[in-house]
């Protein structure tokens, strides 16, 4: 167990060092969510057709946009794994005493590190635009923790997909094909109740809905009624994804 933690921390350390050397990706990836919050949000607020429970529309979508952008970061983590498979890095990691599971989960978790930095770039921009967050540091930290752990689950999806798509080119399209359906079939931009029934059903199994709901409650609306269910759903999602990704990872190696 100690070994397991140590390997996970080593993988997270690797990610922090990467970020220290090159942060461009963090900035370029922040452009899209900033546009959602700065342009799409204010324009759609004028329409006033979406029931947000009394919260300004831009504020309502901010958590969703944050999660969408961190999910995007996580999903593209699989791309790094594909690259590491094409090079000899994964083979070499596999020939260390580290268990493959600690490597997969560690790599997934290190996507959480990137996600947190992403959030820390977007939140000040949102504040400038006038989004009002709940001024509670503990809630905010808890939201970050939820984002961190859910990013691990999303990164595991991408590692699983990467184990099926063995080339980078094939993976590129898949990344978008996963993120956008998750985004649109969630409560990120509108309440689930507004969706056609079949999408509502899909949203029920969409992990992003639970993450958005939890983070929205913690940082914008203050409505924490579903928080325990959200956390349970995220935990189940993470557990399932970690196991499947670990199995998939073995296939990447073969």
């Amino acid at each position: 167990m100690i070994d397991f933690m140590r390997n996970m921390l080593a993988m997270i350390d690797l990610e922090l060092r990467r970020l220290r050397h090159d942060r461009t990706e963090l900035y370029t990836r922040a452009v899209q969510p900033v546009l959602w919050i700065a342009i799409y949000g204010p324009i759609m607020s004028g329409v006033k057709a979406i029931p947000t429970g009394g919260i300004p529309y831009t504020d309502y979508i901010t958590p969703g946009v944050l999660i969408q952008s961190t999910t995007f970061v996580s999903i593209f983590f699989g791309l790094i794994m594909v690259w590491e498979r094409e090079s000899g890095i994964l083979k070499k990691l596999f020939v260390t005493p580290a268990s493959p599971y600690s490597i997969v989960i560690g790599r997934s978790m290190s996507s959480g590190v990137r996600a947190i930095f992403q959030v820390l770039i977007i939140v000040p921009v949102a504040l400038l635009i006038g989004v009002r967050f709940i001024p509670n540091t503990a809630y905010f930290m808890f939201a970050l923790l939820i984002i961190f752990f859910s990013s691990g689950g999303f990164a595991s999806i991408s590692i699983l997909v990467a184990s099926l798509m063995k080339t980078r080119e094939r993976f590129m399209g898949i990344g978008q094909a996963i993120t956008f359906p998750l985004f649109f079939a969630s409560n990120a931009l509108y309440p689930v109740k507004m969706m056609p029934p079949i999408l509502q059903y899909f949203a029920l199994f969409n992990p992003m809905s639970y993450v958005v709901d939890a983070v929205r409650g913690l940082i914008v609306s203050g409505d924490l009624t579903n928080l325990s269910i959200d956390i349970l759903a995220i935990a189940v999602f993470d557990a399932i994804m970690f196991v499947s990704a670990s199995i998939g990872f073995k296939r990447i190696i073969e």
């Binding site: 350390d13 050397h21 260390t96």
Partner: protein, 331 residues
């Protein structure tokens, strides 16, 4: 006697059809540098991947330092170093940081890490670049960084899959010097795959040739060359037509295996040229065939490879040239 590597009847069948290894038997004493030679697709990489516990064999047994590759994977991985054929370092962090991550994975105590890493970098002659991003390194520097990484745990056995592929000859030499000094310092066994004949010849204590999933021969470079047998003495003569009668007389000598003629050349295959040359020259003298030039070809590892693998690894130009000579001798 404990063997560093002991493989018995090992087979590996991929997806139920491709038979990559077909009953491999191999014993390697510890502390040796062992080269595995083979054409593409012969099973070299598959064997190394089974021995490094990345994939499991279909049947048969393999032991590394006395440990079973199927059952004792974790234990084996604590003892071995491995450098895959492809580049295996992160290029977007520094050389030092690469080793630091691995030092953590290997559980090297934090107070020792710095010294062990710096020593490894120093030994490989890349200490002055330790804080540069790996993407600024040359191919040879990256290879040395990978060797430094393998040195961190002072492995009992170091596995190298095509260690110098794609490197310049001078860099190849430098990499090998480092590997040899590594082996000398730690007494590690070194197991490497290669298709560079000269490397196997120069640096290995023992060579095995693998073809179609089977080890076809094994021994020191000298032994293998000896097995191929036959040195070829080529006489450049002044007459165009060499009579069959003359060749027959040469062939009758006990020391001669075969004699063939072509234009102004006579190729004579013998076991030992020092013994054969005087007797052969005597026949030339008696038959009044005057010799302009004598040259000698000893079998190379290349010839060994051709004999056992049935194919050649060197460039096509050389293939044609050597094959013509061989064909002539065989005729």
């Amino acid at each position: 006697m404990e063997f560093a590597i002991d493989v018995r009847d090992l087979t590996k069948v991929f997806e139920g059809k491709t038979r990559a290894l077909d009953g491999v038997n191999l014993k390697i004493e510890s502390g040796r540098i062992f080269a595995l030679l083979g054409p593409n697709g012969a099973g070299k990489t598959t064997l190394i991947r089974i021995l490094t516990t990345q994939i499991q064999p279909t049947s048969g047994e393999a032991h590394v330092s006395g440990l079973d590759v199927v059952k004792d994977g974790v234990e084996i991985r604590k003892l071995i170093g491995y450098i895959p054929q492809e580049m295996s370092v992160w290029t977007d962090i520094s050389g030092y940081e690469n080793l630091l991550i691995y030092a953590k994975i290997y559980g090297i105590a934090s107070q020792e890490r710095g010294k062990i890493i710096n020593d490894a970098l120093k030994d490989m002659g890349i200490i002055e670049f330790k804080d540069n991003l790996v993407k600024t390194y040359s191919g040879g520097m990256i290879r040395r960084l990978e060797i430094a990484c393998a040195m961190l745990i002072k492995p009992q056995i170091l596995f190298l899959d095509e260690p110098t592929i794609g490197l310049d000859p001078s860099v190849r030499k430098a990499v090998w010097e480092k590997l040899v000094s590594f082996k000398r310092e730690y007494g590690s066994t070194v197991f490497f795959n290669t298709h560079y004949m000269d490397e196997a010849d120069l640096y290995s204590d023992e060579i095995a040739i693998i073809n179609r999933g089977k080890i076809v021969t094994m021994g020191t470079a000298e032994e293998l060359k000896h097995h191929v047998g036959g040195e070829v003495i080529r006489f450049t003569v002044e007459v165009n037509e060499i009579s069959e009668d003359f060749l027959e007389k040469v062939r009758k000598l006990n020391v001669v295996n075969e004699a063939v003629a072509d234009d102004f050349e006579v190729d004579i295959s013998v076991e030992d040229y020092e013994e054969a040359l005087p007797q052969v020259l005597e026949v030339f003298r008696i038959e009044h065939v005057s010799v302009k030039k004598v040259s000698l070809t000893k079998p190379s590892l290349d010839d060994v490879f051709v004999k056992y693998a049935g194919t050649r690894l060197e460039s096509t130009e050389r293939i044609r040239e050597v094959r013509q000579v061989r064909d002539r001798i065989r005729r």
